[in-house]
């Protein structure tokens, strides 16, 4: 089988020198156990920016400083001894205990080394919910960060298009997964319905996405003017 030029497939485990058979889930201890070597490597490389390395159920969690998170992810992605080439998830955690900080969590996976690493940033209550965006490293972070912003209100600095993803863009009630958000929302049902029905589902499409975009130049002048003003075409 030939591969096209410029394309090198990532073979899972190809860089790993670990020959020990994988442990069955039953033999993985709750706490402790063999840590991901990336945890120690991070400690050596970044020193005090790595605040804690935990191993729980065989998975390594590294708590890092917010200010150096982008640098750390960049290094994990680029370093030939780490090669974390997949971003599995970006999410947030808020605890019911009001004194505990809000956590922002990144799940990284290294296919060549068969490693999994969880990065956490702790944001104390009262501090601005701003973390760096990793979109310029992993393009897949785009919607993950938008969802996290939509549900928790965490701002990702450097994201190219940080809009709401699940709720509609004019949603005014707040961030639904925060603990201070009532489960039925803040407004009355009729007000929620009125706002939802007032939303125009087509505003999210640009001219280029509409089917008439090709014919735009052929349209009469007044119609082009109306479309430029933001008038929508229905259908």
């Amino acid at each position: 089988m030939t591969t096209p030029a410029g394309f090198s497939p990532v073979v899972a485990g190809s860089a790993s020198t670990d020959t020990a058979p994988p442990q069955t889930p039953k033999n993985v201890p709750h706490r402790g156990g063999s840590a991901n070597p990336s945890g120690d490597a991070l400690r050596q490389r970044f020193g005090t920016a790595v605040m804690r390395v935990d191993v729980m159920w065989g998975e390594t969690t590294v708590v890092v400083e917010n200010a150096r998170l982008f640098e750390i992810v960049q290094w994990l992605h680029d370093d030939p001894a780490q090669r974390y080439d997949a971003l599995a998830d970006v999410t947030g955690v808020e605890f019911r205990d009001a004194e505990l900080p809000i956590e922002v969590v990144w799940h990284l996976r290294s296919l060549p080394y068969r490693r999994f690493l969880r990065l956490k940033v702790l944001i104390e209550k009262g501090q601005p919910l701003v973390v760096p965006s990793v979109w310029s490293i992993y393009k897949g972070a785009d919607w993950l960060e938008r969802e996290c912003y939509d549900m928790f209100g965490i701002k990702f600095e450097g994201h190219p298009d940080l809009r709401r993803l699940l709720m509609w863009e004019q949603y005014k009630e707040g961030f639904p997964l925060r603990k201070d958000f009532p489960v039925r929302g803040r407004f009355s049902r009729s007000e929620q319905l009125r706002q939802a029905l007032a939303a125009n589902p087509e505003t999210r499409y640009s001219m280029n996405e509409l089917s008439i975009a090709d014919a735009y130049e052929d349209l009469p002048e007044d119609m082009r003017r109306r479309l430029n003003k933001g008038e929508k075409v229905g259908e």
């Binding site: 639904p176 029905l197 125009n200 259908e235």
Partner: protein
């Protein structure tokens, strides 16, 4: 209401040929009730049961629903199968407005009918009857195909009892000109081409 019972068609023989005399309402309703084209609006697990109803074992084609009408313009009955989040509410209402009269709506399952209790949260519409008029509610979570078929047969009964003289039946829910959903009819015609069999048929005057 003083509705008279539905008359049986009278078959008479005239000149050796059998003739049938009936009310026009009966004939129209009979043909409408037995050729309902559904617009499937499936959003959740109810849609799986709906697909099962349409497949060979339960075979909705027996009820004149041979063809799923994925274009709202050719549909007769909107079957809303599944929960409707608020983000989908304007879409559902617009699809309903695009369906030509006569049209009916079946709300399939507990979520579409009432929000289902467990979805009593910030994101889900508590019953599609807050958005569009509903003719038949099918309970269940999700309803089995037998349940949906029973709802369809109820709708057919309802259609058979309709009177063309009853103007309230076809009262259209006009879009509010102040809402962003409203598109003036002349704008619709300007942007869309003629369609259908006639060059005079326009989108705005369906």
């Amino acid at each position: 209401m003083g509705l008279s019972p539905r008359p049986e068609p009278h078959v008479v023989t005239h000149g050796g040929e059998p003739w049938m005399a009936t009310r026009l309402d009966f004939l129209v309703n009979w043909s409408r009730a037995n050729s309902l084209w559904p617009m499937p609006f499936g959003t959740a697990c109810c849609a799986i049961e709906f697909m099962a109803s349409a497949a060979n074992k339960y075979d909705l084609a027996r009820f004149g629903m041979e063809r799923m009408s994925f274009s709202a313009r050719q549909a007769d009955v909107l079957i809303c199968a599944g929960r409707v989040p608020f983000k989908l509410a304007p879409v559902l209402r617009r699809i309903w407005q695009q369906m030509p009269q006569p049209k009916w709506c079946i709300s399939m399952g507990a979520c579409a009918s009432s929000g289902n209790g467990i979805f009593d949260n910030y994101a889900v519409v508590q019953g599609i009857d807050t958005i569009i008029p509903v003719d038949v509610y099918v309970p269940g979570c999700p309803p089995r195909p037998e349940g949906l078929i029973y709802g369809i047969m109820l709708l057919q009964k309802k259609i058979m009892n309709e009177r063309s003289s009853d103007e309230t039946l076809r009262r259209e829910m006009e879009p509010d000109p102040r809402s962003q959903l409203y598109i003036p009819p002349e704008a619709i015609d300007e942007m869309s081409e003629n369609f259908g069999n006639s060059v005079h048929q326009k989108r705005s005057t369906l």
